[in-house]
Symmetry: none
Subunit: 201 residues, 4 copies
Amino acid sequence: MSKTKAPDSSRRSERSRRAIYDAALALVGEAGYAKTTIEGIAARAGVGKQTIYRWWPSKAAVLLEAFLDLAERASEGESEIPDTGDLEADLKLVLRATVDELNSPAYDGPARALAAESVVNPELAAQFVEKLLEPQLQLYVRRLRAAQDTGGVRVGIELRTALELFTGPLTHRWLLRTLPLTHDYADAIVEYALYGLAPRS
Amino acid sequence: MSKTKAPDSSRRSERSRRAIYDAALALVGEAGYAKTTIEGIAARAGVGKQTIYRWWPSKAAVLLEAFLDLAERASEGESEIPDTGDLEADLKLVLRATVDELNSPAYDGPARALAAESVVNPELAAQFVEKLLEPQLQLYVRRLRAAQDTGGVRVGIELRTALELFTGPLTHRWLLRTLPLTHDYADAIVEYALYGLAPRS
Amino acid sequence: MSKTKAPDSSRRSERSRRAIYDAALALVGEAGYAKTTIEGIAARAGVGKQTIYRWWPSKAAVLLEAFLDLAERASEGESEIPDTGDLEADLKLVLRATVDELNSPAYDGPARALAAESVVNPELAAQFVEKLLEPQLQLYVRRLRAAQDTGGVRVGIELRTALELFTGPLTHRWLLRTLPLTHDYADAIVEYALYGLAPRS
Amino acid sequence: MSKTKAPDSSRRSERSRRAIYDAALALVGEAGYAKTTIEGIAARAGVGKQTIYRWWPSKAAVLLEAFLDLAERASEGESEIPDTGDLEADLKLVLRATVDELNSPAYDGPARALAAESVVNPELAAQFVEKLLEPQLQLYVRRLRAAQDTGGVRVGIELRTALELFTGPLTHRWLLRTLPLTHDYADAIVEYALYGLAPRS
DNA sequence: CACTAATCGAGACGGTACGTCAAGTCTTCCT
DNA sequence: AGGAAGACTTGACGTACCGTCTCGATTAGTG
């Protein structure tokens, strides 16, 4: 066994965990990730520092869980991408919604913090991807597969790769703020990319 | 005058600046951005702390300048994207080279550090984009415009948007390490995206 | 009732008490008073922390009881100072024994700890004096009184004061380690002091 | 070299040192040694914690120096024990003064703290004895030697031992508070002990 | 002999202080 | 005047214990 002692999770205080999630998200939103301290989270949550150190290995881990918890509660039911038969319309709908989400201050703060830390912290990134990002990307895979079955997407296309044509550009603009992230942009990306995936005449 | 004192840049020590760049890049490469300290850079550069604080406002700014300096020396001549007449081949060439660069440890360390900090620090991001990223993206704009002229890319396509179909996915995989970043991946992205930009039959 | 709850001492675990005494003395001997913690005592004794807090108000109290228990077992029969008729020889015998005891590591550790804490903690000092020190000093009073009766000590001497001529110097050397504590020293103290108490010719 | 880095004492801030001495003595006087924390001293002195850790290895060391500094300023001129020719009167005078000092709250607090820590910390004790206690005891040696020359004290008496007949009992009562420490007590000790040192008829 | 109440080992909790590290400012001495 | 050096105040780090507070699991004496 590598660790000296594993705490008994059945004894864990649910109250404290909630308070820590709330405090962490609030502080990151207010002051940014770098200025958020474990001491600050503990103080705001009305909790001893040790209670944080007992259950999480790092500030990043706290925030990831808090964000996961937030995302989980937000998306009760893990909504699939709609399938109206019109792939382009469906993708535009979803991507516009994503644009709105990324532009909303409540999400932006913690999400950026997590993304930034993930860029530089492979362990966190792995969890971030596994728990949050990849499940969302799989929604695209399923929707695109359905389209493939009905002839909207060319057979032979590697869907896990193709979906990045949609999500990659959006993420890029959001992360580095190169240019404004708008509905029009989302529409353009869908239009340009989708035609590339269409069956060749 | 708002600042207490503006240092006289004509008296600045070139030796120290170089030493600071070198030390900063070396430390970020060895230990990562978070573990790189101003004190450490000063010590490694054989320089007083004040010499750093006199000329740069933050650790991120030092690193950005050091990286800019590195990139400048690396690309003497700002190589344009080649134009052999075969857009697909030209893009694959460039994107494969980009993949190799992103996968090389020497670049990866400092670049990640800068990207991560930019995600969370809009001022730095603005400089990063203006000085480093956008000039590179404009290379794509020019190559795509040439293709538009010769009929390889549909008229009416917004090129500044379209180029992100290529760069966005690559950057995304690199930053978050979702999946391996390979030549095959670069090729697939080019193939899928380019067809979407092609003139409609 | 002022206290929240008085524990029922009839249900008290004798096993635990012994284990706590042993652990406390061992730890103080090994690491010193300051580095001995209640948590450490509990762990070493295989006992819950609460079991200590239930029965003792402080670390010092635990140690005092442990030491008292030790002293009690050591001196089954509260040996009086011998009375061979030769006061000087009797006192030298006892003081030499005291020197040996103070120099023995087993006693030294806990006794120092207790003394140090008593210096700074009047409540503990009161108990320490009442339970341990004063009873021992009364042995001197009784032996000196016997000597007074047989003319070895001047009438009018305040014995409770006089005995400190013997014990004070020894204790002083022991506590502050000013100079080595030897049999010769004990002998000298007896010789010098005793003549001062003798009847005046 | 064993230590990582030795600070440059010529650059040391005199202001900080004074403030630390004052704060340390004040806090020990007000709250006792155990409740005095390095953090508290730093805060009260308006000084960073690191400034304390840079120059002293421990709380005890700070206090010792502070106390030494206090004692030094208090006794400008290292007053010798007076020699009126009447040894008994001279000793009573000095011992009564000592009694008053030990009973004065300003001295009592810090001195107790130091004594208590010395009991349990041999390194500190060594310094305490060397710098503070032994010089004072040597005053007794000198006065007793003068008495020996004029026939007030028996030839052959080991003075360094003999003086403990006076100081030992006083210290003992003070440290453990066995009984009240009064002028009468001091007088009695002098009377009893001095006769023991007198030339034998 | 079962019941039931208190003690037990265990350890999570909100806290305080520890001793360390680095931040950014200031001062001194050198070139 | 800039630079090397490094002491200063500040504040967060992660750790160790504090004393309090639940938790089942014994473990007695009582009904």
